[in-house]
């Protein structure tokens, strides 16, 4: 019953000096007080910040940032990828990555026009929309570790008493994009976990593809 909502909003900004041809992708995980009494009102919890960081490393190559640039060195898209948790019953990471991947897969950037007189970029409401191309679709699978046994998709009660977590992110071609482990485990546990992760990731990917709209 963990529920999250992911939304993507765009703004314009000047690209950085180091990367004058790139746009920006800003992922953020918001765990408000609504979803669990663990989170205090007013400021972001450590868990949320850690998750936002993980998402940022995961999505570094997700899309061609050059595509997001409108005028090199002057104007580029900034895409704010926000994931808000509504109900936290454990394993928010998997839900967040799935929601975000589905949202990214269904992002349509509005057409833009450059006004010659001022050189400004404006959105053209009659110009149609362009789909955001993704290099890969990340899917995350989390397992709880208890001694040397693993339990997939932990609920909150299981997360409270676990020894550690293994989170593995695959993409749609079964490459490993990220792997985090916070437990003291042996090699075979990881290999066994990866076998499970592959199966689970394909199930999640099929759900994501069902939801995607073609146009």
């Amino acid at each position: 019953s963990t529920r999250v909502i992911a939304g993507i909003k765009g703004k314009f900004a000047e690209p950085t000096i180091n990367n004058p041809n790139s746009g920006f992708l800003i992922p953020n995980v918001i765990l408000p007080m609504t979803c669990n009494t663990k989170y205090k009102p007013g400021f972001p919890s450590d868990k949320g910040i850690a998750m936002s960081n993980k998402l940022e490393t995961l999505l570094t190559d997700a899309t061609d940032l050059m595509e997001l640039c409108l005028i090199p060195g002057k104007v580029a898209w900034v895409l704010y990828l926000d994931v808000v948790c509504i109900n936290d019953d454990g394993n928010v990471m998997d839900a967040a990555v799935l929601a975000l991947s589905a949202a990214l897969n269904n992002t349509w950037l509005p057409a833009t026009k450059i006004i010659e007189e001022t050189g400004r970029v404006v959105l053209d409401p009659d110009g149609g929309k362009k789909r955001l191309e993704l290099n890969f679709i990340p899917i995350s699978v989390t397992l709880s570790v208890f001694d040397d046994k693993t339990l997939p998709d932990p609920t909150e009660d299981e997360e409270d008493i676990e020894d550690g977590t293994i989170t593995c992110c695959l993409d749609n071609e079964n490459n490993i994009r990220a792997l985090w482990s916070s437990a003291i485990i042996t090699d075979d546990v990881i290999s066994a976990a990866l076998v499970y992760v592959k199966k689970r990731a394909s199930v999640l990917l099929s759900v994501l593809k069902k939801v995607s709209k073609p146009s």
């Binding site: 909003k9 314009f12 900004a13 007080m33 926000d82 026009k113």
Partner: protein, 268 residues
């Protein structure tokens, strides 16, 4: 100001300007014509209400009115922090937040001035309705998150918060039902305006006034009233009456939905 605790992105990001065709904002609307979404001037949008969807909260409500969707959660009564003064009456704390993608423009993850003000409004309204003497030295936390804002967010937030309180089995005097009304200079009104009809900076209409009214239906009392804009005194009274009737209409619907949810709950 960049927030060091969040991934904030470039500081100078601006909302993308949209190429508009030149058109002056409208000043009035004809009472007899249908609105953009096909409603009459006094017709409410279809309502959807579901309680108990947040498993960890004592009470929760998800409410949808047309395209405006929001979720309210109630945690409590819980023990008050020792720093607070001892009080014979319970305390209420409310947090209201627009999700970053809920409005036409991007909402910062930190609470801004408007959200803090609405939080205080909900807090005041709920303090008047909850029987605070029943839980001294305790705190009730109400949290409202707006998933999508298509007008009338404040009124719906009041309604959702009160439904969540009832779902949390916290004793209240009555259900709180809220509606919004838009008044135009030619004396026409629109009940339950969408975001583009509502009185505010993003509206395509200008002038006139906006009313937010929350009512306790069984006790026939006003819980919260807010008016923005300019309106004559005689017209104001009529607007409040119209709002009141709409609230009563809405109240019967909400009470039926609440009754269904209580009946369908397994006995605890």
């Amino acid at each position: 100001m960049p927030d060091p605790k969040r991934n904030s992105g470039p500081e100078d990001a601006i909302e993308p300007p949209v190429l508009h065709k030149e058109s002056a904002p409208l000043k009035s609307v004809d009472k007899n014509t249908t609105r953009t979404d096909g409603r009459k001037w006094n017709e409410l949008r279809p309502l959807f209400l579901k309680v108990g969807i947040i498993t960890k909260a004592q009470g929760s409500a998800y409410i949808e009115m047309g395209n405006t969707k929001l979720i309210a959660a109630v945690y409590g009564p819980k023990e008050i922090l020792r720093r607070e003064e001892f009080s014979l009456k319970g305390k209420v704390n409310c947090e209201f937040k627009f999700m970053p993608f809920s409005r036409a423009h991007y909402c910062e993850p930190r609470q801004n001035f408007e959200e803090k003000m609405i939080s205080k409004c909900i807090c005041d309204a709920m303090e008047g309705v909850i029987l605070l003497e029943k839980f001294p030295k305790a705190l009730v936390d109400i949290s409202v998150q707006v998933i999508q804002d298509d007008g009338s967010a404040l009124a719906l937030a009041l309604t959702a918060a009160s439904v969540a309180l009832i779902n949390a089995n916290i004793e209240v005097k009555d259900l709180v039902v809220g509606t919004t009304l838009r008044y135009f200079e030619n004396s026409d009104v629109l009940v339950d305006p969408t975001a583009e009809e509502e009185h505010g900076p993003f509206s395509k209409f200008t002038g006139g006034a906006g009313f937010h009214l929350a009512v306790l239906p069984s006790l026939s009392q006003i819980s919260y009233l807010k008016q923005t804009g300019k309106i004559e005194q005689s017209q104001a009274r009529d607007c409040i009456e119209t709002c009141w009737e709409t609230c009563l209409r809405l109240a019967t619907g909400i009470k039926n939905l609440l009754q269904e949810s209580i009946d369908s709950d397994a006995p605890r």
